[in-house]
Symmetry: C2
Subunit: 421 residues, 2 copies
């Protein structure tokens, strides 16, 4: 079954807001066997919205999802336009009005007339109540299309989608089975990987499995997809081919199904009962942020010393001042002392440290922008490695963090397998 | 002048990749007076791409920008489809082949035949060389439409866009003037703000200025837009109305034109010569990451102690163990000691500290998920404030960081204005 997403809002077309809703909705619909065929983003204008709705109905999409333009301010016109398109009018919904009033009461905020007006809703639609905000979702039917309008605020849209819309879709549509598996690679480029697994890739045709390569800084995802009637047979063939792939390239795979590297590390550390700390210079706390973005990370993450200034490297991590002077902050000597320093001071099993030239300035001929040292300290040893990344500050921070987490993963896995042996 | 963006790639429709390219392109085109009228995302399929191209030509868009589907792997079919649509064929481009070969040589990587094939390009297009990767941009003309195809990797697309495409557009189109100004608010909700500035908003009609409210966690942006022939008169009227707005709501405005809070703080600290450190518990290094994401932050940011474990709060920040026991880690007493502790140990003028329940677990009746203390320490005083945020871990981390940076901004501005008085 095919669906169309229509996002409404000048802020998307002007580039002031990145449309994250469509990806989220696409992902969720895929899980229940609905494929997004197109995403269309249009302006906050009556003619543009009407034209998009006509396109949707003419193309006979069984499901059309609209987001945006339902806020309380004057630039939000979606509700008015939906009334016109579906030939209906607004009426005050007493139940929703109560919800909105109690929403404001609970937050101790004064309610305005514009807020109350959000309870004025089209007569001929199904209301999808919003438990996280004041703009309700609305569900219309026309010419065998179901048209759903939801607010653009991601957090509110997600609430309505999961609580209200999903049950509606499951009971209204006869959905096919679809199965995806994503295998996560690090430390290998997209084309090199494709070349290495060429024959295996050819063999997917016979099984009607689709493959896609999705590169991002430091990581390549390989996604396998199959669609059909019986979920069990789809799972069987996709998982079998995924296993073949894992056997071909064991060293470069860190996980499956869009797991993040920090989540892989969470699993490894939780299972082994080991703890971690970081000493960060060029990553400026980003590795600590990634680690602590995982719920439950307080089980294994004790803390971090972000030592941007050299005096902090000396005073808080015990880095030798003469080494700082002789070798510079971006050096094997300093990064290794940072790792051992934070490990002993924060009393953890492992420690990560980074020191590099993030850019855009501060590069020299010997140590250009993108030049980075990373170290991992454990009870047994300190290992360190240098990298030459790119010109862009944000990418350098990201790639340093991914490489550091990868080094940690390999080191912990190595030590755990040695201790078992 | 109106343009259409077409993004190509199943990964966008399936929700595995968020389309950040379109927002970036929309923003850049707006700056030179080209308005994006629609964004259309379609699948990696010949029929879908052809249909999108036909739509673009039929609707007579003078400019059509395609991204995606130009990689070296088999799922990338855009180049082949473009040849079919524009009735041409591929030929090996010797110059581009040399570029690709030297790209691999410079990185010490083996070149594969699939990489060489990226130099096979359509005969009847203008090549837009890619200096950051191996997939060239291509520019076609048909029925008064200019159709540009670029790779989907954001970093490569941006390189081609800025270096190659912008000069082409400026010399080929007679572009109107467009002027935006964005005013950044914090600490006030969208509808409350709209109510407060209602009369002023009415007065925009007479000047043909468009307004949009763009809320995100902790921040509301108000964007003013005017279009016309003479840039000076657009700037004059928009800036005049923006000044009126600033005069109406001085307390809640932290900047203009999409400046980030961390960039506002960078300006304030750079101008005043003051330094900053952070002691982070629930934000886990995220504030340090935001501060260090700004180039040149080493001028004023010395470092951070991320004290996730209580023992790190005691040993590295000097928090009293009896206060930790009596009041708990999430308390006024502890957060204030964290701020003074990191300020004295890292020897900075200001310090930020955070301690809270990020969730999803760890909440109690007295201190539920989303309950957070934030403190700011300076030479003169320590101020602290408690907040009750939400249920979502990522949003709690984000909102804590934004509120902490706001508290810092106000404190530094207050102290600077007092010292001047």
């Amino acid at each position: 079954m095919k669906a169309l997403i229509i996002t409404i809002g000048d802020e998307i077309l002007i580039g002031q807001t990145i449309d994250t809703n469509s990806a989220w909705i696409g992902n969720k619909l895929n899980e229940i066997g609905i494929e997004i065929d197109q995403i269309l983003s249009v302006r906050d204008r009556e003619d543009a919205i009407i034209e998009a709705l006509e396109f949707a109905i003419n193309k006979r999409f069984p499901l059309v999802i609209l987001t945006g333009g339902l806020g309380p301010t004057k630039d939000d016109i979606t509700k008015k336009v939906l009334c016109k398109f579906f030939d209906t009018s607004l009426e005050m919904n007493a139940e929703i009005l109560l919800k909105i009033e109690s929403y404001f009461k609970a937050r101790g905020r004064d309610i305005l007339d514009t807020n109350r007006q959000q309870a004025a809703l089209p007569k001929n639609c199904v209301i999808l109540p919003n438990n996280l905000g004041t703009a309700s979702g609305m569900l219309f039917e026309k010419d065998n299309s179901m048209v759903v309008s939801m607010p653009g605020v991601p957090y509110e849209m997600k609430g309505i989608f999961e609580e209200q819309l999903i049950p509606h879709l499951k009971s209204n549509f006869d959905l096919p089975a679809i199965y995806h598996k994503t295998i996560m690679f690090e430390g290998i480029g997209e084309s090199f990987l494709a070349e290495k697994i060429k024959d295996w890739e050819e063999s997917l045709n016979a099984e009607a499995i689709k493959i896609a390569y999705l590169p991002s800084p430091g990581v390549v995802k390989v996604r396998l997809t199959a669609m059909g009637n019986k979920m069990e047979s789809l799972q069987e063939k996709v998982n079998r081919k995924a296993k073949e792939l894992s056997a071909l390239m064991p060293k470069f795979i860190f996980g499956e199904d869009d797991i993040k590297l920090e989540e892989t590390i969470s699993e490894i550390l939780n299972n082994s009962g080991k703890t971690i700390s970081t000493a960060e210079s060029c990553t400026g706390g980003y590795i600590a942020h990634l680690l602590t973005s995982v719920a439950g990370s307080s089980n294994y993450f004790k803390g971090s010393i972000v030592s941007y200034a050299n005096e902090v490297k000396e005073n808080q991590l015990g880095v030798s001042s003469s080494d700082l002077e002789n070798f510079g902050a971006v050096s094997k000597e300093v990064v290794e002392q940072m790792a051992t320093g934070v490990r002993s001071r924060l009393k953890t099993d492992y420690a990560i440290s980074t020191s590099g030239v993030a850019g855009p300035t501060g590069g020299t001929e010997v140590k250009p922008v993108g030049f980075v040292w990373i170290a991992i300290a454990s009870k047994h040893q300190v290992i360190s490695k240098k990298f030459q990344f790119e010109k862009d500050r944000a990418r350098n921070i990201r790639r340093t963090a991914m490489s550091a987490l990868n080094m940690l993963r390999r080191e912990v896995e190595n030590e755990l397998s040695l201790s078992k042996a």
